[in-house]
């Protein structure tokens, strides 16, 4: 009979009255509880055997987690002790306990001659009496302990909720989107920097053949100027470089062929590339930008050439040299600068010997602004003191207008 009842109970065949009666019996009849357990396990095993081997999608667990976390937040203040604590009775009781404590303290501080057992008038009347009847001194500590425990539990719960709130803020969709945007922007800028740096070298490589042609033929120099001063070149070839330079560097730097001047304006790009990374000393230092080996580019072109980038505002310059000759030990290469007035040159520094190929050299210009108007590279004697003016063979010089 008990098995049939268990089956009926488990399969929901019982009406409310029968079910209540059955559940009451379960509490006192362990054999019936055992039978119920066996029946439920039989049914579970039956189901386990019969149903297909399937799995819910991964999203189901995510949904459960969200619902459970929401439930945690909703249910936080509804613990039985919390409800109990919010009841008026409890607060009356707590207030009464505090009053009792106060009375007890007063009693301890009573004049020593006063009879210990005699209740004061206050405690015989009003709330004092109620306190004495409803809460004995022994019950104060458990009550206070319970409050302490509950407070501790609630504080822990608050801390846990703080964590959840922090986590929720982190996962806030708008913030996430903003973070993603910033990260994307950063990546874009990094990529732009990388692109500019890489293609800066390409720009040089593109310009070199023309520059070489300029030195070898028309003695032209390639000048890099800021965008607003730039003008298209004189011929199709130069325009091609112009276009390519624009493609490479956008409005940050353009290339223009100058037929008249070696006076160059600095560009933002030059600033960015040269200034922060170059430890400039007196004279020359090799630039951080390393060019490809000259043999690959300059095959069959022994003529030396130079491409200068100047930043007058900062007093910095970069000269890109190609095909510099290797000199014997008793000779050295000097670079000089002069102003428009033609009053003479001032020494800028000594080029490293044996550098060959295409080399970029960063230089700090002398204080006078005019020195950047013309440049000349000469071969001087290594042993002697540096002359005031260039005396040796001119290797390179700014073309006359």
């Amino acid at each position: 009979m008990s098995m049939q009842e268990c089956i009926d109970y488990l399969l929901g065949e019982m009406d409310e009255r029968r079910r209540t009666r059955f559940e009451r019996r379960l509490k006192r009849d362990s054999a019936l509880a055992n039978e119920l357990r066996r029946c439920s396990e039989d049914l579970a095993s039956y189901a386990d055997m019969v149903v297909a081997d399937v799995r819910p999608s991964d999203e189901v667990w995510e949904r459960i987690e969200i619902e459970v976390d929401d439930a945690k937040i909703e249910e936080a203040p509804s613990s039985p002790l919390w409800i109990w604590m919010r009841s008026k009775t409890v607060w009356l009781g707590t207030a009464a306990a505090l009053l009792l404590l106060l009375n007890f303290a007063q009693w301890l501080n009573r004049p020593s001659g006063a009879p210990q057992s005699a209740p004061s008038k206050d405690r015989e009347e009003g709330s004092g009496l109620i306190v004495q009847e409803s809460l004995s001194p022994r019950s104060e500590t458990p009550l206070i302990d319970a409050v302490e425990v509950e407070l501790r539990r609630l504080r822990e719960r608050v801390n846990s909720l703080d964590g959840m709130v922090a986590s929720a803020i982190e996962s806030d969709i708008d913030r996430q989107r903003r973070i993603r945007e910033l990260q994307r922007e950063r990546r874009r800028l990094e990529s732009q920097i990388e692109y500019l740096e890489d293609n800066y070298m390409e720009l040089l490589a593109v310009a070199e053949p023309l520059l070489q042609e300029g030195f070898a033929g028309e003695r032209r120099l390639l000048e890099l100027v800021s965008g607003d001063r730039a003008a298209p070149g004189e011929d199709g070839q130069v325009s091609g470089i112009w276009t390519r330079a624009e493609e490479l560097l956008g409005d940050r730097m353009v290339a223009v062929l100058s037929t008249s001047s070696f006076s160059l304006s600095a560009t933002g790009n030059a600033d960015r590339l040269f200034r922060p990374d170059s430890a400039l000393a007196e004279g020359f230092e090799q630039a951080i930008v390393t060019a490809p080996p000259s043999e690959d580019i300059r095959a069959g072109s022994p003529e030396p050439y130079a491409l200068a980038f100047m930043n007058e505002a900062e007093g910095l310059g970069l000269v890109s040299f190609g095909n510099l000759p290797r000199l014997p030990a008793d000779q050295r290469m000097m670079i000089w600068g002069s102003g428009e007035d033609g009053a003479g040159y001032a020494p800028i520094g000594e080029l490293p010997t044996g550098i060959g190929g295409l080399t970029n050299v960063v230089m700090r210009l002398p204080g006078e602004a005019e020195v950047t108007d013309r440049l000349v590279v000469t071969v001087e004697s290594a042993g002697a003191d540096l002359p005031d003016q260039p005396r040796g063979r001119v290797l390179l010089e700014t073309r006359e207008p």
Binding site: M3, Q4, I7, L10, L11, G12, E13, L26, S30, A33, N34, L36, R37, R38, C39, S40, E41, D42, L43, A44, S45, Y46, A47, D48, M49, V50, V51, A52, D53, V54, R55, P56, S57, E59, V60, W61, R63, I64, E65, E67, V68, D69, A71, K72
Partner: protein
């Protein structure tokens, strides 16, 4: 009468089940204390079974997944009320899945068509059954196959479709008392089969 090897298998499986139950109870205690990790363990263990029950009842994947969600949220809420003396954790979850599925079936606007015995098969799906041990499954299927068609149909309609005994009687054209008897005999045979093969208690 099972042979010695079978009995040894049965005993070791029985020990395994005891360990499973103990592990389940530990998980459930963790869930009662608010542990998501413990809930996830139970989910990993039983979500397939719950989903299978719901799918067999409802024949709808989306609804079946909703049942899985309902059941495990309920496990979360009711973990503290679980009574080990009345059910194993697996049985508790399983019956919760059945109950949730049948509630949904009943909420559907139109009652599903009553099916006849000829429409029911023991494995009411073309998908592979859950049992991972093919040999064991085969033995059990054979044992369960000893159930008469009416027993199996009654069980299936009652458990998965939530039919009352009266509704089953109507569907099968039998007296209600006979259906009641089918269910009881079906359960006895199941218990015997599970007991011998170590699936049941």
């Amino acid at each position: 009468m099972p042979c010695l090897a079978d009995r040894m298998t049965s005993r070791s499986e029985s020990q395994g089940r005891g360990q499973d139950q103990a592990a389940d109870e530990r998980c459930l205690a963790g869930v009662a204390q608010g542990s998501n990790a413990a809930l996830k363990q139970l989910y990993q263990r039983y979500s397939g079974l719950v989903f299978g029950i719901a799918l067999k009842s409802l024949s709808d994947r989306v609804e079946a997944e909703e049942v899985v969600q309902d059941v495990f949220v309920k496990v979360w809420r009711l973990a503290a009320r679980y009574k080990a003396e009345r059910s194993s954790v697996k049985g508790w979850i399983c019956l919760m899945a059945r109950s949730a599925s049948i509630d949904r079936l009943r909420r559907r606007a139109s009652r599903p068509r009553l099916v006849g015995v000829e429409d029911l098969s023991f494995f009411g799906t073309t998908e592979e059954p859950r049992s991972s041990n093919a040999d064991r499954h085969e033995k059990l299927a054979a044992a369960l196959g000893e159930l008469r068609d009416e027993h199996r149909s009654s069980l299936e309609l009652a458990f998965f479709k939530g039919y009352t005994q009266r509704e089953i009687a109507e569907a099968l054209g039998l007296p209600e008392g006979t259906v009641k008897s089918f269910l009881r005999r079906g359960m006895i045979k199941l218990r015997r089969a599970f007991g011998q093969e170590g699936v049941g208690p």
